[in-house]
Every structure is written in C-alpha cells, then in structure tokens.
C-alpha cells in the first residue's frame, strides 16, 4: 500500500488524504515539499528558525484545511500560496516590530545567514560566501519583487504558476520579475564593488 502511495502524484496523494484521511499520503507530501518550501521561505525571510516555523505552520494549515484544496489546481501552487502568505505576514510583523522596537531585528536575521551548518556539507567556503552576498542582496529587494523572482529563478515555476500562487495577472508577474531582477542585479554589482 505504501509503495503505491509513493508512486502517486501530488494531486493523487492529496485526493487520497482528502477522501480516506490517509496520514501516510500526508506524510509523503510533507516529505516531498519540506525542502523546497524551506528553501523558498528561507530565501524570502532570511532567517533559519523563522523559515522552519513558517514551513511547519504551512504543513499544519495543509493538514487542517485539506478540504479547501480544489482538484483543478496544482498541489504545488496551493502549498506555495499558503507558505508565501505566511512568509509575507511574518515580514509585515517583523517590519512592525522594527518600527516599534529600538533594536533592529533585521540585523540579527542577516547574521544568521552565516550559519554554515544550514548549508549542505559539500558546499565550499567560497561558494557559501558568494551565497551570503546574494542572500543579502535578495533581502534588500522589495518583497513583492523578491517573491516572484524566487519563485521563477530559484524554484523554477512558470509564469502561469506564479500568477496562480500570487493571485496576480501574468502581465503583473512578468513586470515584477523584471523589476526584481533589475534591482537584484544592481545590488549585486554594488556588493561586488564592496
């Protein structure tokens, strides 16, 4: 039975979970999406602990609201929508905290990028330094542009899928991706000068 579940597509698995409340189907979906979601959320918020919590909450929402998924949509776009919304809410909360608090939380979060344990062990030091610089630049891009650039250039979604995840028109997605990339390129040039 378990072998058969592994062979199922994402949509079939969630259908199984919805219809028969099969917890194994849920676990397989978690196993499939925990890493890409963590990667996406981490690149978006720039904090390891927060990104882990966001992905945990995403999976909890998925567990509790499985029936809100409609079969005509792709499961990946649905789960990314949940994760993206939670990440955006977290950014808003953090912005509010930064305004109210004397202490700048962003600085603390940026420092966490240097946690080498979080990267795969085969990653060399040079590439990790380069990765930190890119991550810093990404965090300085406006969140509305950052989200679509990440979905397109790191997660590899199509324009249509991104439009579905973000609930935007394809034209808006396209322009945001372009603006985001332009901002990022400019920032990366400045970083290389430093």
């Amino acid at each position: 039975m378990k072998k058969d579940l592994f062979a199922l597509t994402d949509e079939e698995l969630i259908k199984e979970f919805q219809d028969n409340d099969t917890i194994e189907a849920y676990e397989i979906l978690v196993k499939r999406f925990k890493d890409p979601l963590t990667n996406f959320v981490y690149r978006f918020v720039g904090n390891k602990d927060v990104s882990t919590d966001i992905v945990q909450d995403t999976m909890i929402k998925f567990y509790l609201n499985k029936d809100s998924y409609k079969s005509f949509a792709k499961f990946s776009t649905w789960i990314y929508t949940i994760a993206g919304n939670l990440a955006k809410n977290e950014l808003k909360r953090r912005k509010r905290r930064t305004i109210l608090s004397l202490h700048n939380d962003d600085e603390e979060y940026t420092l966490q990028i240097e946690d080498k344990k979080f990267f795969a062990p085969d990653v060399s030091t040079d590439s990790s330094i380069k990765g930190e610089k890119i991550q810093r630049a990404l965090l300085r891009v406006k969140p509305v542009y950052r989200e679509v650039v990440l979905l397109r250039d790191i997660q590899g979604f199509s324009y249509e899928e991104i439009a579905e995840i973000t609930d935007l028109s394809i034209g808006t997605v396209k322009s945001r991706i372009n603006r985001g990339r332009a901002q990022l390129q400019k920032l990366l040039k400045n970083i290389h000068r430093e």
Binding site: V30, K34, D53, I60, A120, I154, K174, N178
Partner: protein
C-alpha cells in the same frame, strides 16, 4: 509567441539567473517531520510564529521599562537633593519674634556687668577698689529684649584693675565720670568685651576755640619765618 516573449525577457538576465540557480539549496531540519507529526499528534496547532511575536512584544517593552525605571530613580534622587542656593539679598528677613522663638534653645542671653558704685565720687571709688568689695550688677539681656538685673560680687576683685579710678587720680584735668564703660573682669565668656575708652564730658567750646586760634597763629608765624 508567448514562449518567445518570455525567452527575450529571460535572456536579458541570463547571468543573474545562472547565479541564482547556483545558490545552495536549503534543506529542512532533520527532525522536521518528527516535530510536525508530534504537533499533529498532540493537537498543538497554534502558530509558533505568534508565540515568537508575543515574546518579541515583551522584548520590545524591555527598553521602555528600563527607561521608565531610570527616570523614576533620577526623579527620586533629584527630589531629595535641592541644589538651589538662596540669595541672601533676595531673602526676606525673619521677624524678631520668630527668630526668638526659633533660636531660644540655642542662643545665650547677653550679659553686661555694671559697677554698683558707678555714680559715686572718684575717691570713694578708688578706696572701695582697694578694699576689693566692689558690688556689681549683672544686666542680662534676653532674646525677647527683657532685661533682668542680678546683683553679685565682682568675680575677680584681686585681679581686676579699676582703670577709671586710676585715670581720675592721675589726670585731674580730664573730667571723667562713670557713664563710660567699666573694664570688665576676665574669664567669664558671658561678659562683654572691653571696647576702649570714651570721654564722659564735652570740653568747653571757648577753650577749644582758643586752642585752635593759638595753633593757627603758631603755624602762621612759622610760615612767615621760613619765607
């Protein structure tokens, strides 16, 4: 058509896209699934992010609490320490009665010693001083301006010296009576200090004028002789 359009857009940032693709993939923690399934099993569905938010709100209040405590401390300290210096020229002087009431416990009454035989003739005065039986009156001036009189023997009859009587006997031309102050005895801190000698009677005006004329004439003659 749409694919071509996308390709044009993508080609503009080809280098950037390659850099982003090279970024290391971040993986979830090893115990991610275990933690998730434990939460589901225990029905702990409340968001960890909101818990973090509550904690952060307390953290946000910490500096405010510290500032408030510091301000209270400074206020308490400065309230107890008045650094204002009173300008003595601007201060309103106290009423005498108030000063007497306030300082009654600290101040000591002033005492004036007056010889009992001050109105007696000089010869008697001297003879009495030799005998050493001078009676004195102690006039005590209280803070409330009440003067009390206490009669007592002169404290040091052997050691004191009646200067008035002595001066009368030596220089009879200078008339002095006992209206001037009497030299007081020594050793008693309540006694008034000796303040010098005073003439008792005014010299005759005619005598003074004649002396002045005489000295003026003398000085004029001297000047003429020099010239």
């Amino acid at each position: 058509m749409s694919n071509n359009f996308y390709n044009e857009e993508e080609s503009q940032f080809q280098e950037l896209r390659a850099v982003l693709k090279e970024l290391p993939k971040i993986k979830a923690e090893d115990n991610f699934e275990y933690n998730l399934m434990t939460r589901i099993h225990n029905k702990q569905f409340d968001s960890k992010l909101l818990k973090r938010e509550k904690y952060s709100l307390f953290g946000f209040l910490k500096p405010a609490i510290a500032v408030g405590a510091a301000a209270t401390l400074v206020f308490v300290i400065t309230q107890n320490q008045t650094t204002e210096v009173e300008n003595p020229f601007a201060a309103i002087p106290e009423v005498r009665s108030e000063v007497a009431e306030n300082g009654s416990s600290v101040s000591t009454p002033k005492e004036f010693v007056v010889a009992d035989n001050m109105n007696k003739p000089a010869e008697n005065y001297a003879s009495e001083s030799v005998e050493g039986v001078i009676q004195t009156r102690r006039l005590i001036l209280q803070d409330n301006d009440v003067i009390t009189v206490a009669q007592e023997d002169f404290p040091f009859p052997d050691r004191s010296f009646n200067l008035d009587a002595r001066m009368r006997s030596v220089d009879a031309t200078t008339a002095r009576d006992n209206s001037s102050r009497v030299l007081a005895g020594t050793g008693d801190p309540n006694r008034i200090y000796f303040e010098g000698f005073f003439t008792g009677n005014q010299s005759a005006k005619k005598t003074i004028d004649s002396l002045r004329n005489k000295s003026f004439r003398n000085s004029l003659n001297k000047k003429l002789q020099i010239e």
